[in-house]
């Protein structure tokens, strides 16, 4: 298994989260989350299913409203933005969904064109074609341009989903379970792609996963969500290998030992 070579990032925060809380009915999912994402780093958020990892990035993208706390993205407080300002901020965020969320009724080309045509004015047909071809080349799937999403494999769908977010050249990438449901070889390809995206586009990323192989391969820093808070943060070794925390050990053992 590859271990991520840690990027030495300058300590400039692109996302700052303070005392974030959200509940669904009686279920308190996030109970005072504090988190910083630094420029150019890959931050992996680990945690068991149902601990609120996906909820966290949906709050960052303004898809969910927190009960309390602040989320500051690229210097803007997400909860205070008007609809138009939030839309403008979202264009700087690339969101890769767990199920890829490709539009079923559109071809791969149309899926990639969709955000571009709707958000970038005065683009010629050749500019659009060039951008689509480049995005597909970046994820190594140029041959799928005229296919429908239903004709693609799970791994290909994930890659096209990432390509669709890259087409607007985002500053921050949010990956929701990028390797969920994929075989180990395809998972490894996706992990490498995440690292390539970081290097090539100089993006800062939050990667939500419970796959420790993914965490170790792509993470510059790991934050472990336990009981609605980030109780452990650091490099992979600091969080797991040098840890005496039973919950972290259990997580590690079930991934690598069992």
């Amino acid at each position: 298994m590859n271990t991520k070579k840690t990027v030495n990032h300058p300590k400039e925060s692109v996302i700052v989260i303070r005392d974030l809380r959200i509940s669904f009915g009686d279920l308190h999912v996030l109970r005072g989350v504090d988190l910083d994402l630094y420029q150019g780093e890959n931050l992996v958020v680990l945690g068991r299913s149902g601990t609120g990892k996906s909820v966290l990035i949906k709050i960052i993208a303004g898809l969910l409203e927190p009960d309390e706390g602040t989320v500051n993205v690229l210097g803007e407080d997400v909860s205070k933005l008007k609809k138009r300002e939030l839309d403008a901020l979202r264009l700087k965020l690339g969101f890769s969904f767990q199920n890829s969320a490709l539009y079923d009724s559109m071809t791969v080309r149309e899926n990639l064109e969709f955000p571009l045509i709707r958000n970038v004015r005065n683009l010629s047909r050749s500019d659009i074609d060039k951008a689509v071809e480049q995005a597909l080349e970046d994820v190594g799937l140029s041959q799928t341009i005229n296919q429908m999403p239903s004709q693609l494999s799970g791994g290909q769908r994930k890659r096209i989903g990432i390509a669709r977010t890259l087409i607007l050249k985002p500053e921050i990438m949010l990956y929701d379970e990028p390797t969920a449901g994929l075989d180990p070889i395809t998972s490894n390809e996706i992990n490498n792609l995440i690292n390539e995206v970081q290097e090539r586009h100089n993006t800062s990323s939050i990667i939500i996963t419970h796959d420790l192989t993914c965490a170790k391969t792509v993470g510059d820093r790991i934050a472990m969500l336990l009981d609605g808070r980030f109780e452990r943060q650091g490099t992979f070794e600091e969080v797991f290998e040098d840890s005496n925390d039973e919950r972290a050990k259990q997580f590690y053992e079930y991934n690598f030992v069992n």
């Binding site: 949906k58 009960d67 767990q98 199920n99 079923d104 009724s105 709707r118």
Partner: protein, 271 residues
Amino acid sequence: MQASTTPSKTDTTPKPVVSRRLDRMFLALSDVASFVGQFFKEVFVPPYEGKEIVRQCYEVGVRSLPLISLTGFITGIVFTNQSRPSLATFGATSWLPSLISIALVRALAPLVTALIASGRVGSNIGAELGSMRVTEQIEAMEVSGTNPFKFLVVTRVIATTFMIPVLAMFFVFLGVLGSYVNVAQNEETSFMSFIETFFSSISFLDINSTVVKALIFGFTIGIVGCYKGYNSSKGTEGVGKAANASVVTSMFLVFIEELLLLQIINAIRAS
């Protein structure tokens, strides 16, 4: 999504079942009202999504044509055939075109077209949007700077509102043809004479009221399908439920609207 407020710990008395059902009903009604309100808020504001509206009009209108044509033609034949014996008793078979025109234009065309559209178009919209909700496609649209309500809901409701009247008129046309085929087989009536009698029995009010009824039915089918699909719960079960609820609710509302509109149109006719 906001977390719901937890009830006060001191308030432990359970609400009666009727009260809880009423609560739920009023909550659902307010939700529907806000959905309809959002439609009217968004429909007049750019971007107008013209290309998508045309695509949806094609989906709703052109793709429904074969079913509407077949139903209209057969309705014309069957209705004429079934009405003949009663009129023949009084030696009044020459009134067949008048009877058919009143039945088709005033009642059958908008109602049958709306019921067919509820099944074909309403279920399709409910299932499509429900599936998009479940697979996070609606959220993906939102994060890519597109207003999903405008792109998915407004365009579909506009398409159903304007295509159902067109389909209803097409239903009348095919119904007339079907009726004439039956009349021509049994009576010696020329096509021109049939058409003359057909149109002499109906007024502009009949045609206008049919168009208005079809517009209202079309809006209902579109908004119900979109509401059920757009707000479907997670999971594949939710998609099935959204499709089913779209059909059942829109058919129910179409019948209620038909009853109400009939009273209004009769009052206008009497005045």
